[in-house]
Symmetry: C2
Subunit: 351 residues, 2 copies
DNA sequence: CCTGTTGATCGTAGCGCTATGATAGTGAAA
DNA sequence: TTTCACTATCATAGCGCTACGATCAACAGG
């Protein structure tokens, strides 16, 4: 043997001997090989009923919980979907994430959540760590991303779904609606009510590209018709009720004879509504108010709010559908990779 | 070619030869061993500056992204924290999850999100899959869980934080406030304003134990003082503005001379406020309205809403602090494992 | 010159599972 | 009988990384 450094004697230095129940334990108890247990867990139909019963019994008596980390490593793709939204505090995204989570959980997929806070660098960092999980899919919000983000995702080969916006060039798949069209719908509605001095009230539009696109669509449609004026007013902070009050006041200052406003968010519209009430401006007689989002309170406030419903639920469902279809083999190509969930204008008392 | 069983020739059947960049590739390029790269990634200070620079250069030229799945398997604990809330659509939890996610992300931890929808069985299933990820910690909402859930968590040895409620017996750690005390605060406030015919309007209290506890605290405080009546009214559906309108009407029917209401949620309070306005009931002259949550609109509505602020932000921060302290070694024991974030009554115009 | 100490680096055995063939076992077709 | 096709089961090589202990170089103290 080896003289000199005589300590070659390999002590099998065991690491923390976790007493975790493994698939091996289940296999032993069920008198089958680990492979069969694994197979049973993945495709129960592929093992004989007898063996299946034994395995099921063993699993329950041992209280076995499969280790998804190990599974993910071996399978080179883990059962997680990474979702990146600007902010979960935003009711729009909360709705979509909620639906998406439920749909994916039903298929055994976990959701990893990240917030970009409307920052492309933050988003890039999130995408980077997301990819470190070898996820089954990555879901992003909107179509605007840093070049590096696009590169990372494309190179990874992971399915990508961009949601809440269509009308651009998606990395892979997209589910959403056209924001300029939403703006245009709002403008057409207000014009159809005979309004001519319009303002669009938005928040954080320097970062929130989708809100900015709604504003553009609104302004362009207003101008296209020729005989209306339109001012776009931005609040640099978040879209809140408070911001709505401030924005309404600024609109009243800047736009003579203001007779209609459209807001990038129902919260802003609600703030505007309150401010009108405070100032004794009759809605809709003096000023018509339209919102976006159809949030919880929009049908119940006074007056009830005309708004545009983007159906965050539907977006969540469709995103889930695309992801699951991809996992189950059927890879759609062509236009079916872009889904337009549309928008609905809900006319109520405020216009 | 293969005659008979002459094919014993062990072809090293390689699996999908993923061309993923691995730590090995980085090590080769940087002329160090994989161990050193791993060490550098985990504790940069432990490798020499020269080697560190080489490694950093190699990482960036190769565009290496560490595989967290492999890391999690090897380390027997992954860098994820599983958070289970009743619903992310609820602004309270959205706020906490948002803060928590940001705090944890800053330390390289990912957040896996699950929704129990106020169901104990659902929660149990979520906990089960959560544990399958060998998470660094599990965060639950409230102190009420199935016996099996408690058992699973206790057996796993994973740090557990229960949030948004204290006053019971936590599995491990808890961050939140006392809901009965919130109810009592609201009652005392209304009583101090001379109100004597009270009602508590809540939603989904058969499932939302915390709302039910606020209701109890309110009713008991009201009765304790002797000279006030109190009715608790429940809406079986979700807490929405719409529900607030319905509940107010039921309260008006059931409680003669109703002069004050407390709501389990600001959305309900807002609905009640709107309904009062519709019916021409002056707030606070005829009816005082108090809410819970201090949501976005509460300071801006008409009249501005007296409410109780639970500070979901603070809860998120404290939960993050506990988790990070646990990871960084310092295991607090005793009372420091239960943190009371308190509540603040914000008096405004509605009472 | 030896010993001990310290700091940096390395070699390698797993972590628990899945994917890939291989291997038995069965019956039908030739 | 032999051959082939098909099913059920198994053995085992990784997946990419971390943790453990070993190793090595440099240097101080005796």
């Amino acid at each position: 043997m080896d003289v000199g450094s005589s300590l070659q004697n390999r002590v099998p230095r065991k690491r923390r001997k976790m007493q975790r129940v493994t698939m091996m334990d289940v296999a032993k108890l069920a008198q089958v090989s680990p492979s069969t247990v694994s197979l049973y867990l993945r495709k129960p139909a592929a093992v004989s009923p007898a063996a299946g019963q034994e395995i099921a019994r063993a699993i329950s008596t041992l209280g076995y919980v499969p280790n998804l980390v190990a599974g993910g490593l071996a399978a080179a793709s883990s059962k997680v979907v990474s979702i990146i939204v600007p902010s979960i505090r935003n009711a729009f995204f909360a709705e979509t994430v909620s639906t998406l989570q439920s749909e994916l959980a039903a298929e055994g997929l976990q959701v990893i959540l990240g917030h970009s806070e409307y920052g492309e660098e933050q988003e890039e960092a999130l995408v980077r760590t997301a990819l470190a999980w070898a996820p089954a899919a990555v879901v992003l919000t909107g179509l605007s991303h840093s070049a590096e983000t696009r590169k990372l995702l494309q190179a990874s080969g992971v399915p990508v779904v961009e949601m809440w916006e269509i009308g651009g060039n998606p990395i892979d798949m997209a589910v959403g609606f056209s924001h300029p069209q939403v703006g245009a719908s709002a403008a057409r509605h207000l014009l159809s009510k005979g309004r001519r001095s319009l303002a669009f009230l938005g928040a954080r539009m320097q970062e929130d590209h989708r809100a900015a696109k709604r504003a553009n669509g609104f302004a362009e449609e207003a101008k296209r018709t020729g005989h209306a004026t339109c001012e776009v007013i931005n609040h640099p902070g978040a879209a809140t009720v408070e911001a709505g009050s401030l924005l309404l006041n600024r609109a009243l200052q800047q736009v003579p004879n203001l007779d209609a406003i459209a807001c990038s968010n129902d919260l802003i519209a609600l703030g505007a509504l309150f401010e009108c009430q405070r100032q004794g401006l009759a809605v809709p007689d003096k000023i018509a108010v339209a919102g976006f989002g159809d949030l919880d309170f929009s049908a119940s406030c006074i007056p009830s709010l005309t708004t545009i419903r983007p159906s965050g639920d539907l977006i969540g469902k469709e995103v889930a559908r695309l992801i699951l279809a991809g996992i189950h083999g059927a890879q759609p190509t062509g236009p079916s990779r872009i889904i337009d969930t549309g928008h609905v204008l809900v006319e109520r008392r405020s216009t």
